[in-house]
């Protein structure tokens, strides 16, 4: 049952909501209905909204997107390069559909499955987390995603899980003109360790929209490592929220890389809900032509003795546009917070540009909050140093740009991902020559 939508784009989108299975869990129906109501009440963001003032969604709103059609025949051709051999467990969704043939949910000690399959056995757990961390009250895209919620990836790590073996979650799109709403829930029980690789990839050149929500609950003294790769098609739109909640003594370390999409927006919200929590959130955007990548991060130091570290790098060539907003909130009483944020941006062409803004809200007085931003080009001294060793200017530029990006790439703890990204970086830097 849908209420009348006010925005034609939204109306069109909501018309394609999937049916729920025959005996839907009551809480899920309620949740979808609430989300639908919010989606219809909220206005879609435009340039006039502070949080979207650099990111113009008009081209997205001009598209009449359809729900993806059920997959016919062999799926997953072209996925090879994305598959990480180090991950014994993998959940693969293509065009919003779980594909068992490409997935492998067997991993000793850790539950790796889909929300759909787990609704009965883990209903309580899912209900206690879904939409609790990525609230949709004030966010239209999260509301839209939640209104569509029927399936997604689920990872549950019990307390004794020791996790450097990565679990891979893949959301691939093969159809043009569609909107897909991927959903992930990762629950790390107290004391557990888990590593998750989250992949978004487009396997064709057409236009489509991915509106994703991921929630990560990190229990006491649990440690989560999260690698996120966005490699959508060059014409695609990718809008995503990842909401992380950490309990005391826990840690969250993530590296997110944005290479694809015509327009991408990543909201990373980290809530330090206990004492002694550490988070490290690093990012890299590699942009060319007319791409726009927008990262809005938010670290909420709600309790004392938390640390946060952030290195966010953007390489922009062509007419590309990189946007970064790094918000840090230190709540009253969050004493001995130690936070540092660095936004480093490299412009490879005259037409590329960067908008970068730290946003510090500090309400405790015994804290350390460092922040810095640089925007620049390759240094003449560095170029000359390489040329004095016989390298041509274009080759020197490519090597220095590679070096700039490599600092973030090298923080990824999965070898095959690092190698693939090194190749992507080299390819990008050569493309800007």
């Amino acid at each position: 049952m849908s209420a009348a939508a006010t925005h034609p784009w939204l109306e069109n989108l909501l018309a394609g909501r999937p049916e729920l299975p025959a005996q839907p869990q009551a809480w899920l129906s309620r949740l979808r209905a609430q989300a639908l109501e919010r989606a219809n009440s909220l206005t879609l963001p435009t340039l006039r909204d502070e949080d979207w003032r650099f990111t113009d969604l008009a081209p997205l709103y001009a598209l009449a997107l359809q729900p993806a059609a059920p997959a016919a025949g062999a799926v997953g051709m072209g996925l090879e390069p994305v598959i990480a051999p180090e991950a014994p467990a993998r959940v693969v969704f293509v065009d919003g559909q779980f594909v068992p043939a490409l997935s492998s949910t067997r991993l000793e000690g850790v539950t790796v499955t889909t929300l759909g399959a787990a609704l009965e056995a883990h209903g309580h757990l899912i209900e206690s987390h879904i939409a609790q961390h990525a609230a949709f009250r004030d966010d239209a895209f999260r509301a839209i995603n939640t209104a569509h919620l029927s399936d997604g990836a689920l990872v549950v790590a019990p307390g004794d899980a020791a996790g450097s073996t990565p679990i891979q979650l893949v959301f691939a799109t093969t159809q043009a003109g569609v909107a897909v709403q991927p959903r992930c829930l990762i629950v790390a029980a107290a004391g557990s360790e888990v590593t998750v690789l989250e992949d978004y990839v487009g396997l064709h050149g057409g236009v489509y929209c991915v509106n994703a929500v991921t929630e990560i609950a990190v229990g006491r003294n649990a440690h989560v490592r999260h690698i996120r790769r966005q490699q959508e098609s060059p014409a695609a739109f990718h809008i995503a929220t990842c909401a992380v909640r950490l309990e005391r003594d826990a840690s969250y370390k993530s590296v997110s890389v944005a290479v694809g999409a015509r327009l991408s927006r990543y909201n990373l919200n980290v809530l330090q809900a206990g004492e002694g929590i550490h988070c490290q959130i690093d990012g890299l955007a590699l942009l060319n032509e007319r791409q726009l990548a927008d990262t809005h991060s938010f670290v909420d130091h709600a309790r004392p003795h938390g640390t946060s570290r952030q290195l966010h790098k953007c390489v922009a060539g062509g007419h590309a546009h990189a946007v970064f907003n790094g918000r840090i909130l230190v709540r009253p009483g969050a004493q001995r917070t130690d936070s540092s944020q660095s936004s480093r941006n490299l412009l490879l062409s005259r037409r590329a540009h960067v908008d970068t803004k730290p946003q510090l809200e500090i309400f405790a007085d015994d804290v350390k909050c460092a922040h810095g931003a640089t925007v620049g080009q390759l240094e003449a001294e560095e170029l000359f140093y390489l040329q004095s060793r016989g390298m041509s200017e274009p080759a020197a530029r490519a090597l220095l740009t590679y070096g700039f990006a490599a600092e973030v790439v090298d923080r990824i703890p999965i070898r095959s991902v690092v190698d693939a990204l090194h190749r992507a970086v080299l390819k990008e830097t050569q493309a800007t020559l």
Partner: protein, 259 residues
Amino acid sequence: MIASGARVLLDVRNLSTKVAGVEILKGVSLTVRAGEVHAIMGPNGSGKSTFAKALAGHPAYEITGGEASFDGRNLLDIPAEERARAGLFLGFQYPVEIPGVANAQFLRLAYNTVQGARGKDELDPLEFDDFVRGKMKLLEMDPAFLDRSVNEGFSGGEKKRNEILQMALLEPKLAFLDETDSGLDIDALRIVANGVNRLIGPDNAVVLVTHYQRMLNYIVPDYVHVMEGGRIIKTGGKDLALQLESRGYDWVAKEAVAA
């Protein structure tokens, strides 16, 4: 070593340069023959570094007059990378740090580039690894420096050794070493100097740009030139370096004026 009939590697005549609109070199002339070791000394601001960088092709230095030829070729009308491929090497006074680029990767790239220019074989990463470790042993450099980013976090002395390592790999015909001795303690100085001495032969030459006489005890120059105000104002043998050590630079300038 001075050998009669040795071929001319570098011939600079009346070179003038500007940097950011300011004239720094005001007519420098120098001839370097194969097998020779030259030292260019002088007070700060005399133009010693500028001379080395201008010859290496630094884009910030505008040539406003004069000529320079390297092994018979006009040096000033070819870009920096071609000068390097032709066998000209500059050991930097302040080597640049390149985070994100492994030293091994950078060294191999530089080596293969110059090998390619000479029509010689390139080395793959494994072959190069053996090769470079051998060179590093001679310079008593810890192989751990191969995995670190180029010059990142290196001490001053370690950066200088990395420069000499590059010289050892690239085997240039003519090497300008710009204040290579600064920041080195006695032991490091000895090692670097031995490294350089091992590289000097009858077919190549070295120009040491230095403020202090100390290194010249180890790398004995055939000629010592004194620079002041953008010109070479005196040329002598290795004894000149000792005189400068005991008397300073002032007397040279006065002598030049009186002449």
